[in-house]
């Protein structure tokens, strides 16, 4: 679905200054601003295996090194391995002379036909969980080194602490001794300190965990096998670098040393606004569910624009409102926007000064207060204005002057045949409307013919309801939001 709407032609200016198609952005309903994937915080929500869809708690995932214990991938081609069952004849327990069938399992790659038998791994009596894990042969040595350096760091910290304490005390003593000419003993008595030894000494000095330093040898471990000069190399018996680094601790050179690889877990992320830290998107906990608990995709909150028809001097745009509130949309040229923005910024800064009198500093504000504070709004408008004028535009549009009503999304309206006709609208500007969709006419004029690729831009002004107000009994009061939109027209 995203692919259908992911048009690179119409792009919205994100708060961070980058241009993104609408379906690639979020709309923070607290800040009333667009946020793209690069200017939100991502957080790990749940870990799951994308094959068996099992939810893995973080603690367990850490122990298992983010791997699924049941699912395996082919070490040759990364495809999922399938479990195959086979019957073998084994001597029965009661009567060794008789043979009884027994089910055994092995893994096979459905894509490249690699099997665990190729790796020399014996078939397993159970379908999952009994395959050998690759153990790092050096883990004992690394563990000892870790212990050694940990104890060293402990000692280092301890000594530093002692030094600091001694320093402090000696300074104090010398000061008192000088001023009142007291002996060190009397000073100690006075300050209630013990006579000998320091406070720090009460703690035991940490012991260093000894480790044997490594011993170098004159022999290297990679002397060439003389066969290399005479034997024909079979290419398929040597692993590629990708196959090697998929098993970092083993890095097998020969294909026969490859072993099945545990499937890596996937992660489901939630997104948070960088500014106000509200959640923008939060998926449901169940890995098999594709629903969201919170989903503030801009697609559902900001009017969508597509090019409906394009000719040399005429263009028609289709606007669509997918939010649950009806809204009045006004299209402003960039210059009009600059005028409005400047007056707004002035107004906001004035009220900002008043707010300061009430001694409300920005640092003490949280959540709603921060988003709604005039200072924040003014700053947002300023960056928006600055970023909008960085974009190059060589076509101007003749935009409708009147605000256009975009009704709320109503799934039933899709089936109604007649459009409501009681709206007083300029028929030259608004060509037709149906449900929450409107087609408007925006004749265009090329102002700069230098570049072949033509580009135009305008600013959306629409009313959006700040989150948290819907529940109140009062009618939600929409706030005007300004979002610059840029359209690549190509060659016209």
């Amino acid at each position: 679905m995203t692919h259908l709407f992911k048009s690179e032609k119409v792009q919205y200016l994100c708060t961070c200054g980058s241009l993104k198609p609408l379906c690639r952005t979020y709309f923070c309903r607290h800040c009333l601003a667009l946020k793209c994937g690069e200017c939100v915080f991502h957080e790990v929500d749940i870990l799951y295996c994308s094959n068996c869809l099992e939810n893995v708690p973080p603690g367990e995932a850490r122990v298992k090194k983010n791997q699924c214990s049941e699912c395996f991938e082919c070490p040759v081609c990364d495809q999922l391995l399938l479990t195959r069952a086979t019957n073998i004849q084994i001597p029965s327990a009661e009567d060794p002379s008789k043979l009884v069938p027994k089910k055994m399992f092995y893994l096979v790659c459905g894509f490249c036909r690699w099997t665990t038998r190729e790796a020399g791994l014996p078939d397993q009596p159970s379908a999952t969980g009994s395959w050998p894990d690759s153990d790092n042969v050096n883990s004992a040595r690394v563990g000892a080194l870790l212990e050694h350096y940990r104890s060293l760091a402990q000692l280092d910290k301890f000594e530093k602490e002692q030094k600091r304490q001694l320093k402090r005390r000696s300074n104090y003593l010398s000061f008192t001794a000088d001023k009142y000419s007291l002996s060190a003993l009397a000073a100690r008595k006075r300050s209630g300190l013990p006579f000998a030894g320091s406070l720090g000494m009460k703690k035991e000095t940490p012991q260093i965990y000894k480790v044997e330093p490594a011993v170098a040898s004159e022999e290297t471990d990679d002397a060439l096998d003389p066969d290399i000069f005479t034997k024909v190399l079979t290419l398929s018996s040597v692993t590629t670098i990708d196959q090697r680094i998929r098993q970092p601790e083993r890095q097998p050179v020969k294909s026969e040393d490859l072993i099945p690889i545990h499937k890596f877990l996937s992660v489901r992320r939630s997104q948070r606004c960088r500014f106000c830290e509200h959640n923008l998107s939060k998926p449901e906990y169940n890995p098999s569910s594709i629903k969201f608990k919170i989903h503030l995709g801009a697609f559902y909150h900001v009017p969508d624009v597509i090019i409906y028809r394009l000719a040399r001097d005429d263009m028609q745009l289709r606007l669509c409102n997918r939010s649950q509130y009806p809204t009045h949309v006004r299209l402003l040229s960039l210059d009009q926007f600059a005028l409005i923005a400047h007056s707004k910024i002035e107004e906001l800064e004035r009220s900002c000064g008043e707010a300061e009198k009430e001694k409300k500093s920005a640092s003490s504000m949280v959540g709603h207060e921060l988003c709604e504070s005039p200072a924040t709004q003014a700053a947002n408008l300023k960056t928006c204005l600055r970023n909008a004028f960085k974009e190059k535009v060589n076509v101007v549009l003749q935009l409708p002057n009147e605000p256009i009503l975009l009704p709320a999304r109503d799934d039933l309206a899709e089936y109604e045949l007649t459009a409501p006709q009681n709206l007083k609208e300029d028929p030259k500007a608004v060509l037709w409307r149906k449900g929450n969709k409107v087609v408007i006419s925006t004749p265009l004029t090329v102002i700069d013919d230098e570049l072949e690729d033509k580009r135009t831009g305008f600013v959306f002004e629409f009313g959006a309801v700040r989150a948290g107000f819907e529940t109140k009994e009062v009618q939600p009061q929409p706030t005007n939001v300004y979002i610059p939109v840029f359209i690549s027209l190509g060659k016209i």
Binding site: R62, L145, Y149, R150, P213, A223, L224, V232, P248, E249
Partner: protein, 394 residues
């Protein structure tokens, strides 16, 4: 929610020229090793992180790359993890600054600890003096570490790494190799494709090339330079390398053997891997020269080519007899360490060991400080690298 909580292990990152190693502190190996590039699309190939033209481009690439690492491989919230960056002391300042900016400002990590790769390599061995030889993709760097202090003035760096081998391989192939089609006819490779992609070259080097022995290498040189000299050694058998479709590349044994020779060829300036080792030892204090030679540590993905370490020792022994060095250096023995890790992530392991200790709390550079100063300390900046600052920090 204390960040030094045991549940929130710090993340260790080593962003190399070719591969990035990432994982958590206190673990034996990185979780994943991935190419240091953005994944390509159908239209264009992936871009390597270090191949950038502007700072802005690097910034946006790093944001995408690290996002990928955090949410696809490590699966952690970056805002609650300390970060340990294992980097070379010779890392470009620009890259380091942009990386710090991305981590502190975009990802809002609580703290970052930059550790020098050559130094932390010794944490995997439990020793304090060694000559660390890092053979990477782009270049080979050597820094002697004496009693826990890297001697920066004795550093050596040359563009002798996997990239040099790949370039040599490409030129040799274009010169000699033939492409064998379905019908068995042979065409010169140059006529089929004037350039080979990095992925193909890397694959050929990794799977088929090796570093030959010293006597064979000498024989090769003698045969090439003297017309009536000895005949070259019998090359390894030719193999067919599938190129694309029905085309097979005839991979000559001599090409497989000679590609890596670029590391040991001495030009007029006499610069090769072996001379770099001796130069680094010579630039170190005289009392440390013998211990350094007896504590060589060879790390980096480049040294995983079969026969490389063996050859390097033989070359150094041979070069000691050269008049340039014989009068100035007398080494008893050359000894190589075997770190408890694969060579390509040895430095990462050092960072993971260091990061698991108390040092991560005491030595990290916190986000609050960065937001005030807008810079990270660097050894080559006099503002950080003076005695007063050191004693205050201690």
């Amino acid at each position: 929610m204390p960040i030094h909580d045991n549940d929130r292990h710090a993340v260790v990152l080593e962003i190399g020229r070719a591969y990035t190693k990432c994982g958590f502190v206190g673990e034996n190996e990185p979780r994943v090793i991935i190419p240091s590039k953005l994944e390509g699309t159908k239209k264009r190939e992936g871009i390597y992180l270090h191949e950038y033209s502007t700072k802005k481009e690097l910034h946006s690439n790093l944001v995408k790359f690290l996002h990928h690492i955090f949410f696809k491989y490590l699966l952690v919230n970056h805002r609650e993890r300390r970060i340990v960056i294992v980097e070379s002391l010779l890392c470009p300042t620009e890259f380091r600054e942009v990386l710090a900016n991305v981590l502190y400002v975009h990802f809002e990590v609580p703290s970052v600890l930059f550790v020098p790769s050559h130094l932390v390599t010794l944490y995997t061995l439990g020793i304090s003096t060694a000559l660390v030889i890092d053979i990477g993709h782009e270049e080979t760097t050597m820094i002697p570490v004496c009693e826990g202090t890297p001697l920066i003035h004795a550093w050596q760096a040359q563009p002798l790494g996997n990239k040099a081998i790949q370039e040599r391989l490409e030129s040799l192939l274009l010169l000699r190799a033939k492409v064998q089609g379905n019908g068995g006819q042979k065409i010169d490779l140059v006529d089929v494709m004037p350039k080979l992609s990095r992925a193909v070259l890397e694959d050929i080097v990794v799977r088929t090339c090796f570093v030959t022995t010293l006597p064979r290498a000498r024989q090769l040189v003698a045969a090439r330079t003297h017309e009536d000299g000895p005949s070259p050694p019998v090359p390894p058998p030719t193999i067919l390398y599938p190129l694309s479709g029905n085309n097979n590349l005839t991979l000559d044994g001599s090409v497989r053997e000679e590609s890596a020779e670029v590391l040991f060829e001495t030009d007029n300036e006499m610069v090769s891997l072996a001379s770099m080792v001796l130069d680094a030892i010579l630039a170190s204090p005289i009392d440390f020269r013998v211990p350094l030679a007896e504590n060589l540590v060879i790390i980096g993905g480049g040294c995983m080519l079969p026969g490389l370490k063996f050859r390097l020792l033989a070359e150094i022994k041979d070069l000691q007899q050269h008049p340039k060095y014989s009068s100035r250096i007398a080494l008893k023995a050359l000894k190589v360490h075997r770190p408890p890790a694969k060579s390509n992530y040895t430095a990462w392991l050092g960072g993971a060991i260091l990061g698991a200790t108390e040092a991560i709390a005491t030595r990290s550079y916190a986000r609050e400080v960065y937001m005030q100063t807008n810079r990270v300390p660097d050894w080559n900046n006099l503002a950080d690298n003076t005695k007063e600052v050191d004693s205050r920090a201690g």
